[in-house]
Symmetry: C2
Subunit: 396 residues, 2 copies
């Protein structure tokens, strides 16, 4: 009797969870053993994290218990942190124990990329997990409480968001919405609060339609956000940031959203990486490893124009569909599919009731875009958890 | 035409606000100008502050806008901080400006008394105002958020309350109730949380019936509180406390409730003080000053046995009634009343649904005492703001 192949999925982010669901649905009985490994016993919806980070939504609304998503009769779930990938003997070293695999899916997500800017790693906060966003929320509230004890320290009410990409823009929108609430709660004059969004690139939301970017910036400016575009952060200290222009901005809160790289384990495992990411083959496998698939922030997929697609939830989920298909094909000895990204549009929220986006070739903004954003969010909940999850976690 | 006498009331705590209300009710038109001076534009209910400090109630439930309590046609309200009392020329120096008085009521409240214990002033938090309790609440939540980033630092989950008097005991009761909620919110194992209540005196709640004290300590022990009674704190550092026994307890949160002294301005103004308080005459006036009344935490009233009564909301309010009466009598040239404290009973809450108390000569505990506590609280709201305030701020 031949042994049942063992599939290990590292990470229950978009890529990992959708791959698991796909395998759960399509694998036949005893066709493969599937084990999903994740640091937490919940999956979190990364694209929602900017809300609990600002405190405009509960952290619980951005996460789902993994055992509510997968069928534990079909898929094993191990709550543990992977610390090493050993391709030479096909093992994953966990914080507690070791797992063997025949097929591996790497969906470990990303890590903040600070581009070597001094102090960012030590002093800036990152929007990257439920724990980190709870921390950011508490940190922000704490600054208001501190300010009431030391009312001369107005830098406690200055908030700096580094990076005006997708996450940065969505976060400043929520942050600006949250400020009036916090000012009311702590009896603080709203005029004292300052929010800066600083971006080194020549534009906010690089790659987005310029007309929509202009619209977004105006919406956010009206909410009190000050932009510093085409302005690099030279250094981050416990007291704020110094810009390339020499300007110093004092602040007790710097949130860095300016870059993402792949998980550090990939490089350590001997894969060839660019910014910690593996440039995958057409079928999503790591070059030279015909049993290892790489998804999401750990992977690089090139566009037909030869540029890497930005890592998004959307591309991860599409990768997961193909990854699930290819794993099953491989086990069954069938042909593998090529992955082709089909962009379905992008919507960036700008806080309450406001958003911008491209759907198909159509530009949308304002209430329409905001409604579309909600639909996209609900669709994702539906994909991973069906109607019950939509009803439980959906924001209508 | 003789000038209308000017009465200035410093502080809108229990003593100040009740005096103001009494004057407002009983002074005739043009009999006196009354000005109430307070740092904030709200009165706060000090005996409730342990709840918002622990996060079991909203800070707003412990405060009332001053202009909702007083009639601004009859009493002037000045929102400012008094910085100096000048008895020689009958003036109060405010942060902005100066006020003249013919009669002065000092109800400025107390300040933490740290008995010279090194580090307490710098590193311990105090339950003493809306701002301070919002800070404590945020500080506690922040420790949970921090712990999730640095799970080896269990001292972040250790909370030390110095002093097992009234405030200390009521606060640990709320704190213990709050912990399960915070553990749930931050995914923290409740077994990691530690609450210490440390008291130098030979018993908790000194002066209270020993049977009730025993009951209270058992209730709180069952909620997870560890007592260290007859144990002095020798030093407080940013890392915790060292006890007189040599034991060190690591903690990022020390809340000091162990003592209260009078406002520092009294000593600076040349009054004879004991721990910052003025031992008042029978008619509540400061010795040698027939136009200055002193109330609450700024005053010392001796019991018939020659011991100072502990400063409480109850005694302050009774003082305020007599102070109001005596001010009017003095203006009208009538005789002044002697103040005699009539203890009506005391109830200490122990968190949700639990309390102990003495009402008349009767000991009460458990649900009965807890209900009595609520009645006392509602009665106070009724005294200062009538039925509308009871309905708005009452906890039923």
């Amino acid at each position: 009797m031949s042994r049942i192949p063992r599939i290990v999925i590292l990470g229950a982010g978009y890529g990992g969870i959708v791959t698991a669901l796909r395998l759960q649905k399509q694998l036949n009985y005893n066709e493969a053993d599937v084990t999903l490994v994740n640091k937490h016993d919940y999956h979190y919806i990364t694209t929602h994290l900017h809300m609990p980070a600002a405190g405009t939504d509960k952290p619980d609304n951005a996460r789902v218990s993994i055992t509510k998503l997968i069928d534990e009769f079909k898929i094993d779930f191990v709550k543990s942190t992977a610390v090493q990938i050993r391709t030479q003997d096909q093992k994953i070293v966990l914080e507690e124990g070791t797992l063997s695999y025949d097929y591996l899916v790497i969906g470990l997500g990303g890590e903040p990329e600070t581009f070597g800017i001094p102090g960012l790693k030590e002093h800036a906060l990152n929007i990257r997990s439920i724990n980190s966003v709870r921390y950011i929320r508490e940190h922000i509230e704490y600054q208001f409480a501190k300010f009431k004890r030391e009312p001369s320290r107005t830098e406690l009410l200055t908030f700096i968001v580094g990076g005006a990409g997708f996450t940065g823009i969505e976060f400043v929108g929520e942050l600006a919405d949250r400020m009036p609430e916090l000012c009311k709660e702590f009896d603080v004059d709203p005029a004292l609060v300052k929010i800066y969004n600083i971006e080194a690139a020549p534009t906010a939301l690089p790659g987005f339609d310029p007309e929509l970017v202009e619209y977004a910036m105006n919406v956010l400016r009206n909410k009190g956000v000050t932009f510093k575009i085409a302005t690099a952060i030279k250094e981050c200290t416990p007291d704020g940031v110094t810009l390339a222009t020499g300007e110093e901005i004092k602040s007790a809160t710097v949130i860095w959203t300016g870059g993402v790289r792949g998980n550090h384990m990939l490089e350590e495992a001997g894969f060839e990486t660019m910014r910690g990411r593996i440039k995958v083959e057409d079928d999503l496998r790591a070059p030279g490893h015909d049993n290892i698939y790489v998804l999401g922030d750990c992977s690089i997929v090139m566009s037909p124009e030869g540029r890497p697609y930005p890592p998004t939830a959307q591309i991860s989920m599409q990768q997961a569909e193909v990854c699930g298909h290819n794993l099953i094909s491989q086990i069954r000895g069938a042909d593998l599919k090529k992955f082709e990204y089909k962009p379905k549009g992008t919507v960036a929220s700008l806080g309450r009731g406001e958003a911008i986006g491209i759907v198909g070739s159509r530009k949308i903004k304002g209430g329409v875009a905001s409604a579309m954003k909600k639909i996209i969010d609900l669709r994702y909940l539906y994909i991973i958890g069906g109607i019950p999850l939509v009803l439980k976690k959906g924001r209508f």
